[in-house]
């Protein structure tokens, strides 16, 4: 029953780097070490990080495809139902099942449902709406929008162990290692900058 797993007492451990190559190498090492539940935060998008973090292909595209197919079928057969079954009208002697005429609307609804599926699916799969995220409890984290690169290994990872993970992060030679708490605290015990 994964719903009732006890919440780990911290969110995770975060390492800070000062160069894109360093965080790339660090993510690669962490992946090799067997960590899955981790994330990286950088001042600019780095496409290579997706691979380095070992983020698996999202199931979102499958969901979007299903939404699109549903929209296509719905769009087509709704028009069929209206024109052929519910309210058949003789327009210039044309056949009731004038399907070429329905293709544009069918196409539009395919796109519309795919787009809705993509946006709404993305929001839910990202765990949104979420007013606040524990990584913001780290004071130096605001530098992620300036010139620092952060790698956070989350405590929910099966391989996570407070001591071992910290040792591992130290071996990556980061500038700082910080404990990420669930709530914001100024406790100096946790803010143990090296």
């Amino acid at each position: 029953m994964t719903f009732f797993v006890k919440r780990p007492d911290i969110y995770g451990l975060m390492a800070e780097f000062d160069a894109p190559e360093k965080i790339l190498a660090a993510a690669e090492r962490a992946k090799q070490e067997g960590y899955h539940d981790m994330d990286a935060f950088t001042p600019f998008p780095m496409e290579e990080l997706t691979d380095a973090l070992g983020i698996r292909h999202s199931k979102l595209s499958l969901f979007v495809l299903c939404c699109g197919l549903f929209g296509m079928l719905f769009g087509f057969f709704f028009q069929y139902w209206v024109s052929v079954i519910d309210y058949p009208l003789n327009i210039g002697g044309r056949p009731l099942n004038s399907w070429p005429q329905w293709i544009p609307v069918t196409f539009e609804l395919t796109i519309l449902f795919s787009a809705f599926g993509a946006v709404i699916g993305m929001i839910f799969r990202n765990g949104l709406p979420r007013p606040v995220h524990p990584v913001f409890n780290v004071d130096r984290f605001e530098l992620a929008t300036k010139d620092k690169f952060f790698l956070c290994i989350e405590a929910v990872d099966p391989k996570f162990d407070k001591e071992k993970t910290r040792k591992f992060l130290e071996s990556l030679k980061p500038d700082y290692i910080t404990v990420v708490d669930h709530v914001h605290t100024k406790d100096p015990y946790h803010q143990d900058d090296e």
Binding site: M46, L65, P100, Q101, I103
Partner: protein, 389 residues
């Protein structure tokens, strides 16, 4: 100057084989011409239109590349340059069509024409037709040679100003390219049925031509991508871009073909609808179904997958399928003009694309091997590489 010495033996071997196919094909065409002139000219036109479409697609991509300069463009730039540089030779290969004009184009015989066609004779007459061909081929060859000449100059000098010069030249060129190819498609193909017209015809043929050229480039990347010098710079992103473009043009082709059909079908006017009736209310409707499935549905569904677009092996197989479908599409566009209701197949319609294709590929490889395979001194080339960190 030549940086692809390692590839020369392969190029020469391929060139030999292409020449062999070309010679055998030309012999077959000559034999066919003696047996049936009409079949010869029809098949020759068909074969010519396929390879001319590829040539013009190359020119279009080349102009587009100089305008937008995406990183994918540098990978294929030398392919499309070489393809476009065959244009003067394609002008020579156009001569048999001029010889066969009386048999191909009904408007060349002034008797028994419909009233509506008689009204069009101010445009559709032999002298003006010939003048237009001179303008088309002159303009296309000029653009192709000017752009590739400057790019070759830049290979040696590394002069950054040439890039800007080519970009400025490409803007107006693109406008005239679209206008001239539209008119050429009217001259070469639409006027096979001179009583009919469609304003979407030209853009449909342009998209078809660019799609042909893109698929051809992807097949070439498959062939040369694992060899130097391309292997040094080729990344998954380039292949992904090419895959996305292939998909975009597949969809665009379907969009234009369907829009044209939908407008004519819903209007259902006798002066507009005969073109589609000939092709869809007859035995030719088999082709229409094959095109919907093979030219749109299957490649579209396959290209939705990100994985297929990012790997050159599966992508090049799709591209080969697209090339085959381009041949089917052209067959369906051209032949019903001569055979209204019955499916028509003559062995010459295989021999003609093979003959012209052999000659074209021989010319193409000749152009390709005469220059470095990548525009290494193009400043945007390095930006394109840097973009990947």
């Amino acid at each position: 100057m030549n940086t692809n010495e390692e590839l020369l033996p392969q190029f020469n071997l391929f060139r030999q084989r292409a020449m062999m196919v070309g010679v055998v094909g030309v012999a077959a065409l000559a034999a066919g011409a003696l047996m049936s002139e009409a079949d010869f000219f029809q098949s020759y036109l068909y074969g010519y239109l396929f390879w001319m479409g590829l040539t013009l697609g190359c020119l279009g991509i080349l102009i587009l590349h100089h305008l937008v300069s995406g990183s994918w463009g540098h990978v294929v730039q030398r392919y499309v340059e070489s393809g476009a540089r065959t244009l003067p030779y394609m002008a020579l290969l156009f001569i048999p069509i001029i010889i066969g004009m009386n048999q191909l184009y009904p408007w060349t015989n002034h008797e028994g024409l419909e009233h509506v066609v008689e009204k069009k004779l101010g445009y559709l007459n032999v002298p003006f037709f010939l003048v237009r061909q001179v303008i088309y081929f002159g303009f296309w060859s000029l653009v192709a040679y000017w752009l590739s000449k400057n790019s070759r100059l830049q290979d040696q000098s590394g002069d950054v100003h040439l890039t800007r010069k080519m970009k400025i030249f490409s803007g107006p060129s693109m406008v005239f390219f679209v206008i001239t190819v539209t008119l050429a498609s009217v001259d070469w193909m639409m006027s096979l049925e001179p009583e009919w017209y469609s304003t979407m015809y030209g853009v449909g043929r342009i998209v078809g031509a660019v799609l042909t050229a893109l698929a051809f480039c992807i097949v070439l990347v498959r062939w040369l991508g694992d060899k130097k010098p391309l292997a040094d710079i080729l990344t998954t992103r380039h292949i992904h871009h090419l895959g996305n473009l292939l998909m975009a043009f597949t969809v665009l082709w379907a969009y234009i073909a369907f829009s044209e059909f939908l407008i004519i079908w819903s209007g259902n006017l006798p002066e507009d609808n005969m073109w589609h009736i000939r092709r869809m209310n007859s035995e030719w409707s088999v082709f229409a179904v094959v095109l919907i499935v093979g030219h749109f549905a299957v490649p579209f569904a396959l290209l939705l997958s990100r994985g297929l677009k990012r790997h050159i092996e599966p992508l090049s197989r799709i591209a080969v399928g697209v090339l085959v479908m381009r041949l089917v599409d052209l067959y369906w566009l051209v032949y019903p003009a001569f055979n209204n209701h019955e499916l028509h197949f003559h062995w010459l319609s295989l021999a003609a694309p093979a003959a012209i294709g052999g000659i074209w590929l021989w010319l193409f490889i000749g152009q390709l091997k005469s220059q470095p395979l990548l525009p290494l001194n193009d400043p945007r080339f390095h930006n394109g590489m840097a973009e990947q960190h």
